[in-house]
Subunit: 232 residues, 2 copies
């Protein structure tokens, strides 16, 4: 490193060079900030700033006590804000409508039962509805709810508010997982979404739990052309 | 609220009830912590804990000086870790391989040119390659790079390392955007990915920039069956 040593960008460039060249190999601890500052001839705060930036990019893992090390599996990290569908549509200036297709207590298929760890004959609340934007189908919501575990769900008819919105407002956040994939529209899905059978559909599947108990599980099928955007 | 007022869960339940009933309407400031603590008969720290939880779920926006308010657009917030494709595959215990399909300096199509804000006749580096898992096609990478803005890209041949991995290790993170969608395999894409034409493909499109200048733009087409997982 040359005379520009006192800028944090120069320190970052040098750190990246060492990681890229494997001079600092994946999983290896990296030197203490004070040692690096001395070696590179800059302030410790400058090293700290540079390492923080590199850590945010996912190339370095910082651990409070154990120090920092080169990430074994560097990642790009994005934050994904998942809005209530009504608000996503209204934010675009479009008129929102929700149309309830069905609501019933049903014995779920095996895959859903496994997710809820429910008893073989136990019934769950099954709600299907269509989210519309400016009168056109936007997304088909197919949701299962453990009405025992979600107070109020059993007495809500979901004709005035979608389960999507009701649950965001009703269930305190605890944990969940989410998966994104692509699927083709079955004839029934195509009819609901007003698209040709076989059209490519963006799919999100979410499960929300509290105290390790699954509260709800949903499959959202978006009409063709939908894109989910976020910032890296 | 009853005698359970001194638990933060009870305070959270009461806050959620007020938001759900629109007693506290979207966009409206919520009372100061001290006032709420007095009203609800609990410690201020308890109110703070409850509000922090509700804010993490995206229903309340906390602003350092302006106080807290009910979110206009409540969201569920997820963190998305986007690994280097090689590492994603190796983490699953599968053998990774990358096969370079083409590498050329080309005048990009209008949509790519607009993204880079490049001059009409300016050439960009265009790299296409196939990521393989256990010998099977995993994802087709179609990438454009501004070699003027990314030192080293112009002299890297990408036969030994994919652009995906090279860029994560080479480009300091600054900003980017990402979009997820679904597409159907064109005949050429189907041949590259070893699937039938018309099969549904999960697509991610990313652009990475620094100082408002686009450095690289990529379209990743994943073989049928791919799912992107994360935690909420």
């Amino acid at each position: 490193m040359s005379g520009a040593a006192n800028s944090w960008q120069a320190v970052r460039a040098e750190v990246l060079r060492r990681i890229r060249s494997r001079e600092w190999a994946p999983g290896q601890p990296i030197p203490h900030e004070a040692d690096l500052a001395q070696e590179l001839g800059c302030a410790r705060a400058t090293v700290n700033r540079a390492l923080r930036e590199v850590a945010e990019s996912g190339l370095i893992e910082r651990r409070r006590r154990a120090g920092s090390r080169v990430a074994l599996h560097p990642v790009r990290r994005a934050t994904l804000d998942i809005p209530v569908i009504r608000m996503e549509i209204e934010t675009r200036g479009e008129a929102y409508d929700f149309s309830l297709v069905s609501r019933a207590e049903e014995v779920p298929p095996p895959a859903i039962r496994a997710r809820f760890k429910s008893a073989p004959e136990a019934r769950l609340l099954h709600v299907v509805g269509l989210h519309m934007a400016d009168g056109k189908p936007h997304a088909l919501e197919d949701r299962w709810i453990d009405a025992q575990a979600v107070p109020g769900a059993g007495t809500t008819d979901f004709s005035q508010i979608s389960p999507n919105e009701w649950l965001v407002l009703s269930v305190p956040f605890e944990g969940g997982d989410i998966a994104f994939s692509a699927s083709v529209a079955s004839p029934a899905e195509a009819e609901a979404l007003g698209c040709p059978a076989g059209a490519p559909l963006f799919v999100t599947e979410r499960a929300t739990w509290r105290n390790e108990k699954t509260l709800t599980s949903v499959r959202l099928l978006f009409a063709p052309g939908y894109r989910l955007h976020t910032r890296l």
